[in-house]
């Protein structure tokens, strides 16, 4: 009998599985051992730093300043005390302390908005209204001045709500612009418009976002007529919108291109006219197709909002780095970075899993 592979004995077979997946060749076995050793050492080191030798709270001195000397002692691991101490600042930056329920509520609204948009049930025209409505409510909550809410000017906004606003408003405003640019690029009968759209997309994509943020904060004030001042956050937001629109335009264009020509021809044959055809037949289908790459692009922009730190805007990342610049906490940068990383990862990973799930579903349904 020349048996080569193992005959499976029963369904759950850890030994057999290990032999097939971890030790199937000499180099594989060696690699498994090396990796297991490395993982165990790294994990153990992390557990010792982060949990066993960690300090969870520090006493507050007589003058109200936390005594962080215990964190600097030798052999001490992570000083998690920095998180509860600084969390309000990291999340909300300079927003007035007693009004911080407002940005917190905004964050919850954004999360609800993403959850609703992810649900297939809401994929219809009304979703646009939901987005606009949410942004209006967020604006009212953040600015105040009405309904008895005290007014809070923009320069005091910061932290997580600002990151969410930059990303969400950026996407919301960029999307219609992106659709127009994508349509313009495919307009065979309007060569000047097509050229304009190509120039726009290629120039924007040619330079990094930082360059555009610098340009916005430096040059937008120059663009304004006399006496009109432009707020830095607004300049950055406009730059993000224009930047996002260029990338989204390419995604939408890919969707338009992958739609079979027969759809457009059938619509033409029915005499629908250009805008009706786009609105009723082409765009609904094309946009559905590109939702996975759209979500991936949004993940990228969510991360890119952290760049506004460089032009001095207090997003989540800058709030975090400013928190550890505070003298008592200067050694605790890694703890705060870890905290920030977890927040970003939570958002991005959720979106990434969602988009992968969507892609798998689209592939499956397309193959039938």
């Amino acid at each position: 009998m020349s048996a080569t592979a193992l005959r499976p004995a029963r369904a759950f077979d850890p030994v057999g599985w290990a032999r097939a997946n971890l030790f199937n060749a000499w180099w594989s076995s060696a690699l498994t051992l090396v990796l297991i050793y490395a993982i165990v050492r790294a994990l153990w080191g992390f557990i010792r730093w982060g949990f066993v030798h960690a300090v969870y709270s520090v006493p507050t001195g007589a003058n109200g300043v936390p005594q962080t000397g215990v964190c600097q002692a030798a052999g001490v691991g992570a000083c998690w005390a920095v998180i509860p101490e600084k969390i309000r600042f990291i999340l909300f930056a300079f927003y007035p302390f007693d009004q911080q329920w407002r940005p917190a509520l905004c964050c919850a609204l954004f999360v609800a908005l993403y959850a609703i948009s992810a649900n297939r049930f809401f994929w219809r025209r009304e979703l646009a209204l939901i987005w606009v409505g949410t942004l209006v409510v967020v604006g009212i909550l953040m600015w105040g001045g009405v309904f008895g809410l005290p007014y809070v000017p923009q320069y005091k906004w910061g932290g997580l709500p600002l990151t969410l606003i930059l990303a969400t408003l950026g996407l919301a405003a960029a999307f219609p612009l992106a659709v127009l640019v994508a349509l313009g690029r495919r307009a065979a009968n309007l060569p000047a418009v097509r050229l304009l759209c190509v120039i726009y997309v290629e120039i924007i994509r040619g330079a990094p976002l930082i360059a555009w943020l610098f340009m916005a904060t430096v040059m937008f004030p120059l663009f304004m007529p006399e006496g009109v001042d432009i707020d830095k956050i607004l300049a950055a937001q406009v730059a993000i919108i224009l930047f996002a629109a260029a990338y989204l335009a390419e995604v939408v264009r890919a969707g338009l291109q992958s739609l079979p020509r027969g759809q457009s021809e059938a619509a033409d044959a029915l005499g629908l006219g250009y805008w009706r055809k786009m609105r009723l037949i082409i765009l609904p289908q094309a946009l559905r197709l590109v939702i996975p790459p759209l979500v991936n692009t949004f993940i990228g922009f969510f991360k890119d909002t952290s760049l506004v730190l460089i032009v001095g805007i207090f997003d989540l990342l800058k709030a975090g780095t400013t928190a550890v610049a505070d003298p008592p906490w200067q050694g605790q940068a890694n703890e705060v970075y870890l905290f920030l990383a977890v927040i970003y990862f939570a958002f991005c990973f959720a979106m990434s899993k969602y988009s992968k799930g969507l892609e798998r579903e689209f592939d499956r349904s397309r193959r039938h």
């Binding site: 009998m1 020349s2 048996a3 080569t4 592979a5 193992l6 005959r7 499976p8 369904a11």
Partner: protein, 261 residues
């Protein structure tokens, strides 16, 4: 073809020694038992057609013969050499066994001629000019010599499959395996490929062919093997299997296949 002509032709065709031997071959995919105690002996110059419903294991069995799939139980002996994990022996066996795939599997970045000369140059160490002459002779045999310098993407499905047959023949194999060669073709192209295979059979090549084309089986096969659910159910000359099926399973299969014939 008339019964007498068929009988005459089969008398003229002498069958040699066993060249493929499957002895109680078993194979599992995970928990699924896809080949159950399959035993088959194929002689030189014999033409065998394997048929059966999908999932019967016929493709798996034929792919075990040139070890594209590994069997877990039993023995397979090809041209005197037993199939094991010995890669050098395996390469040698594979150069004697030609295979034609359902999805052609031509190399898209090479011309037709290069597709055919690649293996003779690298395995049989033939000089390029000699390999090209050999390839052109086979391309002429499958009747598409003029496409030699085109790329596979520029040919129709039927032409591509004929190139695939020529490519396999360029290694001058002793055995040719066909894994549903016409299943991916448009109906009007099936005939040209079947004609090529018939011509090949008439020239004395040992052939094992998995196919649904019963007309081809009737015309060319010395033996038809019917598989179902991983085992060989019936085996015998085509007219016996098709006219007098012995088992219900074969009767059911024939009624499904030959509906409308």
């Amino acid at each position: 073809m008339s019964e007498t002509a068929l009988a005459e032709r089969q008398a003229a065709h002498t069958i040699g020694e066993p060249i493929i031997l499957l002895d109680k071959v078993n194979k599992w995919y995970g928990q699924m038992h896809v080949l159950r105690d399959v035993s088959l002996s194929i002689a030189e110059r014999e033409r065998v057609v394997v048929c059966g419903p999908s999932g019967s294991g016929k493709s798996t069995m034929i792919r075990c013969i040139n070890r594209l799939e590994k069997h877990q139980g039993g023995r397979i002996v090809v041209d005197g050499t037993e199939l094991t994990d010995d890669t050098r022996a395996l390469d040698k066996i594979r150069s004697e066994v030609g295979m034609v795939f359902q999805s052609f599997n031509l190399f898209p970045h090479l011309t037709i001629l290069q597709n055919c000369t690649l293996a003779p140059i690298w395995v049989r160490k033939m000089p390029k000019a000699e390999a090209e002459e050999l390839a052109m002779s086979y391309l002429r045999r499958v009747k598409i010599p003029e496409q030699a310098h085109k790329y596979p993407g520029q040919l129709s499905g039927g032409q591509q499959q004929r190139v695939a047959i020529a490519r396999a023949l360029c290694m001058r194999p002793r055995i040719m395996l066909f894994d549903e060669p016409t299943s991916a073709l448009d109906p009007e192209m099936i005939k040209e490929v079947l004609d090529t295979m018939i011509e090949l059979a008439e020239s004395g090549m040992t052939m094992v062919c998995v196919t649904h084309e019963m007309g081809f089986a009737r015309q060319v096969a010395d033996r038809v093997v019917f598989m179902d659910r991983g085992e060989i159910v019936e085996s015998g000359p085509p007219h016996q299997l098709f006219e007098h099926p012995a088992t219900d399973r074969l009767r059911l299969f024939l009624s499904q296949i030959l509906r409308g014939h």
